[in-house]
Amino acid sequence: MRKQLGFIGKVSAAILLGSLMSMSTLSAKTLKLAYDADPVTLDIHEQLSGGILQLAHMSFDPLVRWTKDFKFEPRLAESWERVNDTTVRFKLRKGVKFHSGNPLTPADFKWTFDRLKQSPDFKGIFSNFTDLNIVDDNTIELVTDGPYPLVMHTATYIFPMDSKFYTGKDESGKDKSVIVKNGASFASTHLSGTGPFKVTSREQGVKVVFERFKDYWDKDSKGNVDKIIMTPIKDNQTRVAALLSGDVDFIAPVAPNEFGQVESNDKVNLVTMPGTRIITFQMNQERRKEFKDPKVRQAIVNAINNPGIVKKIMRGFATAAGQMSPKGYLGYNEALVPRFDLAKAKKLMSESGYPDGFSVTMMAPNNRYVNDEKIAQAVAAMLSKINIKVDLKTMPKAQYWPEFDKRAADIMMIGWHSDTEDSANFYEFLAMTPNKETGKGAYNSGNYSNKFVDETTMKANKETDPKKRAAMLQAVEKQMYDDAAFVPLHWQNLAWAARKGVNIEPVVNALNFPYLGDLVIE
């Protein structure tokens, strides 16, 4: 027995030594990055999702990109000007090369634009765009079908792809440019962009390795990361543990439950920022006649203590909302604040003839939004105070969306992030009268319908003067606020954490794609 113990001692000593050695050989210029998921494809037009946009910003460049304070920053476009109501002209940066070595030309923009118009996920965003015209070797124009205020917003989605690289037939004789959703394609497994990082190896769901592109055009960038190893770590606790144990340098997202652990550790930094994703409940007026009465809806909004939810459940990791548009968006109306008032809620219920309340069904996902299940439970409890009995059902998102599509409950949870970073997008999807043909109101499970909201939103989408447009959008917010069109809860915050020395603070933004090309590691 003693002999065995000696052996175990030796082994554990060897293990200890080994781990010390592996720690000392860490290269300073390698960033080990852990997200909750890795990009599902290398084809940036295949799916419109945060993961893919993150990849686009790492390996491609857009015409322009958002700054932290929601301004546009020139990237492949050096400058731009509005030529007329329907045309914006972009001056392109010179001397930009793709990873393949091909030079970037206006033809690549044209090719990319045409491909975007084909993509099931992106064509919606580009539906107002008719053409991308090549003016000369350094100039292109984006043409819309009418006056359109969101040309620059949309330009953040134009990441030119290497048209020569993506043209022709692959080994199996398929067109290299084709977008395939349910299977492999050339573009989903090969990549050539102009961005700061090349993809050098990738194993789906395990890791992606990026290396800095030697010929990257942005020599002014202070970014000094040579290599990025991106690993998906699904489990929140494991992801934090990986950071705290030094196995990775940078993680996102950080769940509110883990904040304490991260903040109390002096080797790592936590960076949080208000996000733009709104979490709401919708009250189905078609299923429940009670919800047709604005007073009942008002009562429900008044009954829900959303600042309390932010404080207790989200641990401060959210901003309580009274409207859809977050601060910084054109539609943000400062006057529309959260309005928890239980006494008023009870009064409204009495006035509308439901002093004894009624029973409703409620559904919410349990793995889609931060603490979604707990929030739903809290809301159900709060509604019981005004005698509304809630039959709550929560389920994984995979099962939730089909239920949502069926409008299967009286009250349903929905969170929304505006793809265009513009208020109108919220209204189009969540608040306009549902219409199968135009596709408006696709996520308006409450069937809220207001002519003013519908018309003003559409008008705002043709108004190119930002001031006038802001007034319109804010008026829409006001209308919905007065109608209690939906239950606003909060905007989720964003959180990242990195070991000290990895300066993530300057490169992260509310859009949740850190500009890793500019990341500096000390």
Binding site: D121, S188, G246
Partner: protein, 326 residues
């Protein structure tokens, strides 16, 4: 022998057919894959068109018929997420899971057998009582709690162990990258293997102890002692080998169950194996992969049972699977 294998093969085929039918019949309850494949703002019409193109709107029997027809040609569908044939994906993830299971099995063998035997031959010793107390507690601690506790103590607090992933692997052949040939790989596999074995070790300790106690009260053990053999020889030669027979039978089934437990362990440790892949597939409504995985696990169960029976036949001379002699 050939007949035995042929029977098992047939059994596997039937098992897989039934599993495929069952999993196919519930697949619509597993969520809408189109939701996972498209962004939120994609229109319903657009989604519907894709659905049609993928044949997801066809009647159940048409879809199942198509699946079986393809399956007979060795094609179990293409994963939506991985965009590769499901079998390719599974085989790619298989080595990681098998290595993890193997490592856990080693831990189980080298802890539960000595401890179980100890508890059986010295039932009143304080250490035996400690073992039994531990086994009762251990059996009731969920795997993921053990896993998180290990990570917290050994990775976060002490910094001795890597917290996730497979680490550095050495390529063997085909898809097979092994953890066992590099120090980093071994370091990475230790904690997941301990976590995975944590629920099985107490179970096996109790099993080994119970079987050993039974063997110790048997006539041949008494006879062996009456022959004047030393206790060591009686315990470790005569009783232990007989103890192993039921342990192997139960163990085979348990190892199959362990493959299921890898789902938890792998997701906590971000171990890139089949279990984690399956969990992700469920999260993403990757139905072809879910169906293929369940079928594959069914096959694995039959395979493990077959191997166990063969092993049993080798150890136990009274079982004649090989059909020789008589």
């Amino acid at each position: 022998m050939l007949q035995f294998l042929f029977k098992r093969l047939l059994q596997a085929a039937i098992v897989m057919l039934i599993i495929s039918l069952l999993s196919f019949s519930i697949k619509d309850k597993l969520g809408d894959p189109l939701r996972e494949m498209t962004g939120m703002s994609v229109s319903t019409a657009e989604r519907e068109m894709l659905r049609k193109k993928m044949g997801l709107n066809d009647p159940f029997l048409v879809q199942y018929g198509r699946f079986v027809k393809k399956a007979l040609h060795g094609d179990l569908g293409t994963s939506y997420f991985h965009k590769l044939p499901t079998m390719t994906v599974i085989l790619k993830k298989l080595p990681a899971t098998l290595e993890l299971t193997f490592a856990a099995t080693l831990i189980i063998i080298f802890t539960s057998i000595p401890l179980g035997v100890m508890a059986a031959i010295k039932p009143n010793h304080w250490f035996s009582k400690l073992i039994m107390a531990f086994s009762i507690i251990g059996i009731s601690i969920p795997v993921f709690v053990t896993a998180l506790a290990l990570i917290y103590v050994f990775s976060v607090k002490l910094g001795w162990m890597p917290s996730f992933g497979r680490g550095e692997t050495v390529h063997l052949f085909g898809y097979w990258d092994t953890n066992f040939l590099s120090k980093d790989g071994i370091m990475h596999i230790i904690m997941p293997a301990i976590a995975l074995s944590s629920i099985m070790v107490p179970l096996f300790i109790r099993l080994v102890r119970a079987e050993m106690l039974e063997e110790l009260s048997s006539e041949y053990v008494k006879f062996a002692r009456a022959k004047g053999l030393s206790r060591t020889k009686v315990y470790f030669k005569h009783a232990l080998k007989n103890t192993m027979l039921p342990v192997i039978t139960v163990g085979g089934v348990q190892i199959g169950i362990m493959v299921a437990y890898t789902i938890l362990t792998e997701s906590v440790f971000q171990w890139p194996g089949m279990g984690f892949m399956f969990l992700e597939a469920v999260n993403r409504s990757d139905i072809p992969l879910i169906v293929a995985y369940i079928m594959f696990v069914g096959f694995l169960f039959v395979l493990v049972n077959t191997l166990v029976d063969l092993l049993y036949g080798i150890i136990n001379p009274t079982v004649n699977l090989l059909g020789k002699g008589q």
